[in-house]
């Protein structure tokens, strides 16, 4: 996270279990085009701990120094006004932005608004960037996303789709890049999510309580160690953290070169059809996620293993809901995968 609070963050690699969640986040970090991750599951299972830990394991990025939108120094498109006008002399490396969107935020702070102090002092209008600007090129995290106010959801949907934030308020007229992966977490018992918002998330990780006693004991042990001495704990996990960071970096560099042959593409399409899924976003996401997974595993082509792994995450939230179905939709997907992919 943008560590403006200096609160130690539990290392990503030290999280016990929750493999699907960790995998989904890692894939989203490798290939931003996947479009974010939705995490639904029980209370107290480490959802937000895991999300907040993610940024710390990602390779740092270069950004124009002092740019409120974290513009990339070498980029030619998708820049903020200032960066596209002027030369961009100074570059700095920053941690990938992980911006918390608190539920109590007001619209003007999310989208950005007039800088009131500047206006009062100088009588001139100046745009003051909001959270969407800060999240550019990183992640926007909404905990308890199913409680987010509708008007903020509308705003997010709009910006997430276009990658541009357009502000027309209080006599200010600004557009700036706002490309971010949306990460949302919540407990399904707190309420349902609007389908449009659900669809906006590339992957949907289901998360469950760890039941294995040994693992539970391990969870307590590590957490106690972290709480007793965070600095030492983080140091102890430095090695594995660096290792993962390098793997993600390597995968980021080669993900666009990973091949996927037509056989797998038609398999993905068949899977969507078999599960009666509307629209094609699911297929697109599945393809991207499969490539990212292959890249993470150091392969240069997608295999059946990749498709099988990412299918439940990519499709779970796109299935039609059956009011009386009790079982996790994941098992329905797994069955379809076995039938189609594994033949």
């Amino acid at each position: 996270m943008t560590n403006d609070s200096n609160i130690p963050i539990y290392p990503f690699v030290a999280i016990v279990g929750q493999e699907e969640l960790k995998r989904a986040l890692t894939l989203a970090a490798i290939e931003p085009a996947i479009g974010g991750v939705m995490i639904m599951g029980h209370r107290g299972t480490g959802k937000s701990t895991t999300v907040r830990a993610l940024a710390g394991t990602m390779p740092r990025i270069a950004a124009v120094e002092g740019c409120a939108f974290n513009c990339a120094p070498e980029a030619t498109a998708g820049l903020c006004e200032r960066c596209s006008d002027a030369g961009r002399p100074l570059a700095a490396t920053i941690e990938v932005p992980m911006v918390d969107l608190p539920l109590g935020a007001t619209e003007d702070r999310v989208a950005g608004t007039i800088d009131i102090e500047h206006a009062l002092m100088h009588g001139a209008k100046r745009f003051e960037p909001g959270l969407l600007a800060r999240a550019n090129r990183g992640f926007l995290y909404v905990d308890e996303v199913n409680l987010l106010e509708d008007h903020l959801v509308d705003l997010l949907l709009d910006v997430a789709a276009s990658g541009v934030n357009v502000v027309e308020r209080e006599g200010i007229s600004v557009r700036h890049p706002a490309r971010f992966a949306l990460v949302g977490s919540g407990n399904p018992e707190e309420g349902e999510l609007r389908p449009q918002l659900l669809d906006r998330f590339g992957l949907h990780a289901a998360i469950e309580t760890e039941h294995d006693i040994e693992r539970r004991v391990e969870i307590i042990k590590r957490r106690m160690a972290f709480d007793d001495n965070a600095a030492a704990f983080i140091r102890d996990w430095q090695g594995p953290t660096e290792e993962l960071r390098e793997r993600i970096g390597a995968a980021q560099r080669c993900v666009r070169d990973v091949r996927i042959n037509d056989g797998f593409l038609s398999m993905i399409a068949a899977l969507s059809a078999a599960l009666d899924i509307d629209g094609h976003r699911g297929e697109l996401v599945m393809t991207r996620a499969a490539r990212a997974n292959a890249a993470l595993e150091g392969r240069d082509a997608v295999t059946a293993v990749d498709v099988r792994l990412v299918a439940p995450m990519a499709l779970r939230h796109r299935l039609r809901k059956d009011p009386l179905e009790m079982a996790d939709p994941g098992s329905r997907i797994a069955q379809a995968v076995e039938k189609i992919v594994m033949e």
Partner: protein
């Protein structure tokens, strides 16, 4: 903000609440335990206990610790902080007014009656606890404050569900301990009276005991890092957690810390059975999902909790191993303590004054009765009833709009932003003040919860009951599938036998509805009156909490409320029947007076002019539908149409 009160009712003078007080003290030993949610009926001294604890901390433990109370109608700008209007206007600079969350840093945040708090306020508190940071992204301000506080919350069991996702962040979920007996109550009242008349005297009297308790806390804080939680302890806790089907793994961590803190308060460096028992009873057992999910089954054969034998062990161990900092008087009292009196500080010497009663805070003495906690407190948290109180002008400030501000709340930030660019032209030479004109004024637009609370009252008696229940369940899930559009929520009451049971407390969640409605009790008589009363309670709670609309849907075949038969009991039944009718008439009056929207769905097989269902509809002013073959989709359509009709009529 809080300045330490000169006097507070001494924590050691409290009668009862043995477990709650221990839990509170544990949070002082390790603040990572995060707090205590104390749940119990009104008028049992929950808030007093919390205030008294706050006083104890400020007077004896940490004079700088703030004690910040969150009022039920708290607005986001008070909770999270916002623009300080006075200073901003005076200086022309943007000044922040700190929110309650930031103010509570290093101290305590007190929420009296947590379930009454607005959903967003709860989310904000939970967020701050999770992050350790209070984030204010409002009204042109973007500030963060580190904040660590102990959450002290109370809840009255009511129709409104305790927000467990906030409650889950605190370690201790303590239910009201068994009713204290009359003698103890007497003692409590006497002490309170004395305190009212002369606080100074009572405070002086307990001064020493309070100081001793503070010393105990101080010792425990030093010991705490050395209390080792070995693999055996961790295993025991993890196993208990699995046994209780506790959701998530956070509880395991909190329980381990609770056991450690309890051991430290005993003055011991080793965790014993009694520490684990305490942790299980206060942290794990109240989170049991087994109880919530299959309440019915659990009532008959619930998994044997691991506690009783532990408790037994604790008892056998007697006085414990580390009397180190035990005050002498406590030691004496232990001698006098009856062997079997384990009821939260109960004494069987009624004439006893404080001095002769077992001190519930004697950590090495007898363990208070904790078994009662293991009996599904979650369930009991959702029953009870309270009077109707209507509130207006609530809801959440969503955005600010330019409109006629008369009678509305002005959005300060937005107004200033609108005025700001014009200050240059409006100010006259060297003037500092900000000129705000009429056209700058923005008012807050509040989001009314557009959603409707659908309350289903389903007649679960008679031959077609099973069918009715099944379709009602289908309708419930059907309506909830669309709930995201309208923010609707649904509750379901089944009536049969002697009582009406709230099977599904108001919820917007399909998941929860499915889980709760797995049990479909059927058979028996028809206590319609009880169901109508329960529904009334839900409507009242919904109205109290905001602007939620409610629709009561009654599914019945309208048969007589008590089965008629020719046997000797017939006469009595006839009398009872009349009695029941009178009861319904009384409730019907309330329905009409309060203007409660309702719908009677008649599921008889054949249509007749005068049925009980028709009469019922007339009485309570309900719409009436004859729907002999109920099916979920059809019913959902009828309910929606009725809802649209009644809301349009407003």
């Amino acid at each position: 903000m809080s300045t330490p009160a000169p006097y507070y009712f001494p924590l050691t003078a409290f009668v009862g609440y043995a477990i709650a007080r221990r839990a509170l003290l544990c949070t002082l030993v390790d603040p990572a335990l995060r707090g205590v949610l104390l749940s119990g009926p009104v008028g049992t001294g929950k808030s007093e206990l919390m205030r008294s604890f706050g006083g104890f901390v400020q007077q004896h433990v940490d004079p700088d610790a703030p004690f910040v109370q969150v009022p039920p109608g708290v607005t986001d700008d008070r909770l999270l902080g916002g623009l300080d209007l006075d200073t901003s206007l005076a200086t022309g600079e943007r000044r922040e007014r700190r929110g309650l969350l930031a103010e509570a840093d290093g101290g305590m945040l007190f929420v009296d009656d947590l379930p009454l708090l607005d959903e967003h306020a709860i989310a904000s508190i939970a967020g701050a606890m999770e992050l350790g940071v209070a984030i204010c992204e409002r009204e042109g301000l973007s500030v963060r404050h580190r904040t660590r506080f102990i959450l002290l919350a109370t809840a009255v069991p009511s129709e409104r569900e305790t927000p467990f996702w906030l409650a889950d962040k605190v370690a201790f979920l303590v239910m009201q301990e068994r009713r204290i007996d009359a003698d103890l109550a007497h003692m409590m009242i006497t002490r309170r009276e004395r305190y009212t008349h002369s606080p100074a005297m009572l405070v002086r009297e307990y001064q020493e005991r309070e100081a001793a308790l503070a010393a105990r806390v101080a010792t425990a804080r030093m010991l705490y890092p050395f209390v080792a939680a070995g693999p055996v302890v961790l295993r025991q806790i993890a196993e208990a957690s699995v046994q209780f089907s506790v959701e998530g793994n956070r509880a395991d961590i909190l329980a381990t810390k609770a056991a450690r803190a309890h051991a430290a308060l005993r003055g011991s460096r080793t965790i014993e059975e009694r520490d684990i028992t305490f942790a299980i009873a206060t942290v794990l057992a109240p989170r049991s999902q087994a109880v919530a999910a299959d309440a019915e089954r659990a009532a008959h054969d619930r998994p044997t909790p691991p506690t009783p034998q532990n408790e037994q062990m604790a008892r056998e161990e007697g006085a414990g191993d580390a009397p180190g900092n035990e005050s002498e008087e406590q030691g004496e009292r232990m001698q006098e303590e009856p062997q079997d009196g384990s009821d939260g500080g109960a004494s069987d010497d009624p004439s006893a004054d404080s001095e002769q009663v077992q001190d519930p805070l004697d950590f090495n003495g007898e363990m208070p009765d904790v078994e009662q906690f293991i009996d599904g407190p979650r369930r009991s948290m959702t029953s009870g009833n309270r009077g109707v109180r209507l509130q207006w002008q609530r809801g959440r400030h969503m955005r600010s709009v330019q409109t006629d501000p008369s009678g509305r709340r002005i959005a300060i930030g937005a107004t200033l932003r609108a005025a700001a660019p014009h200050q240059r032209t409006r100010r006259r030479g060297g003037e500092e003040r900000v000129h705000v004109r009429w056209e700058d004024i923005r008012v807050k637009r509040f989001s009314e919860r557009a959603g409707t609370l659908f309350i289903f009252c389903v007649d679960a008696s008679g031959s077609m009951a099973r069918n009715r229940m099944r379709e009602a369940k289908g309708t419930v899930t059907q309506l909830l599938q669309e709930a995201y559009v309208n923010r609707d929520s649904v509750a379901l009451i089944a009536f049969r036998g002697d009582d009406a049971e709230l099977l599904l407390p108001p919820t917007p969640s399909v998941e929860r509805a499915k889980r709760s409605l797995d049990i479909l009790p059927t058979g028996g008589g028809t206590p319609l009156a009880a169901a109508l009363t329960k529904a009334l309670g839900l409507v009242a709670a919904a109205r109290r909490s905001g602007s939620e609309r409610a629709l009561v849907i009654i599914l019945t075949d309208g048969r007589a409320n008590v089965p008629m038969s020719e046997n000797a009991a017939g006469m009595i039944r006839e009398i009872r029947r009349q009695h029941v009718q009178q009861e319904i008439d009384r409730i019907a009056l309330v329905y009409r007076r309060e203007g409660i929207s309702s719908l009677v769905v008649d599921t008889r097989q054949t249509y007749g002019v005068q049925s009980d269902a028709v009469r019922l509809a007339e009485k309570i002013g309900a719409r009436y539908y004859f729907l002999p073959r109920v099916d979920a989709l059809g019913l959902a359509a009828v309910v929606r149409a009725t809802n649209a009709g009644t809301s349009a009529a407003r």
